[in-house]
Symmetry: C2
Subunit: 150 residues, 2 copies
């Protein structure tokens, strides 16, 4: 599953999976933008390319960070959901955001939403909310992968 | 300074700088391994290549995340130090580690040191310690870049 493990260091082992410019943006789309379909993620303002998006989604499925199911409202469309392993990436995104609010030219549109990032506060509530939206009924909260029916 | 800003999103703006497999490993070396010289970082177990290490160190200097000074004990050698902006990356490394301890095959050698990562606890103490080691006397704690004399 892991193409290349460089060492047993926890920082390195994390970066082996999401140490690139795009993977955590896909997670962000799933977490905060309500984007659950391939086409929606493709339309995000960073302009991810189709081949990178397809490649990263496949990796995230293989790693059990994301699951892909049939969208009940559009049988032709696949819907992507975070697993518990994916939802557990939230504190990383929060700390990246917190650093950027301090040191990077964050767009004003994001500043209104900065409170939870900046305070480092309400992550538990947010994670509970994400579990409601992404984990299917019956899934144990510790599920690390799920069946894919598409 | 920023080669390419993809959007004003704080997650994206962070990844524009350190969204790769290597940059945060250099920060890790400076933070936790006491590696302050180029040759020491080159010797880390992930086997970073000379051109990637040189490229990333230059970027980190340009961004004011790291400063380079003359090593007082070896006038020929440069010593790298974290700035406050660099020390503020610690919570990101901690959260990456915390996720890896839960989901990745972390080497036993790291598990003994896992307490602060896992508890998400003593970051303030660690950051205070890093400031003592890396920020030069007289530097304000909010310094974002410093003079380089080599």
């Amino acid at each position: 599953m892991d193409e290349k493990i460089r060492s047993g260091c926890p920082v390195s082992l994390g970066l082996d999976i999401f140490g690139d410019r795009w993977t955590l943006l896909i997670i962000r789309d799933l977490m905060f933008s309500g984007k659950r379909h391939y086409r929606e993620m493709l339309g995000s303002e960073e302009h991810i390319s189709t081949n990178i998006l397809a490649d990263r989604l496949k990796m995230l499925l293989d790693e059990g960070i994301v699951v892909k199911t049939e969208d009940p409202s559009h049988k032709q469309k696949a819907i992507y959901s975070l697993t518990e392993k994916g939802i557990d990436l939230l504190p990383i995104l929060m700390q990246i955001s917190s650093w950027s609010y301090k040191y990077r030219p964050v767009d004003e549109a994001y500043v209104d939403n900065a409170a939870p990032y900046e305070q480092g506060g309400d992550w538990d509530d947010l994670m509970t909310e994400l579990r409601k939206v992404h984990l299917r009924p019956g899934d144990a909260p510790t599920v690390s992968n799920g069946p894919s029916n598409t």
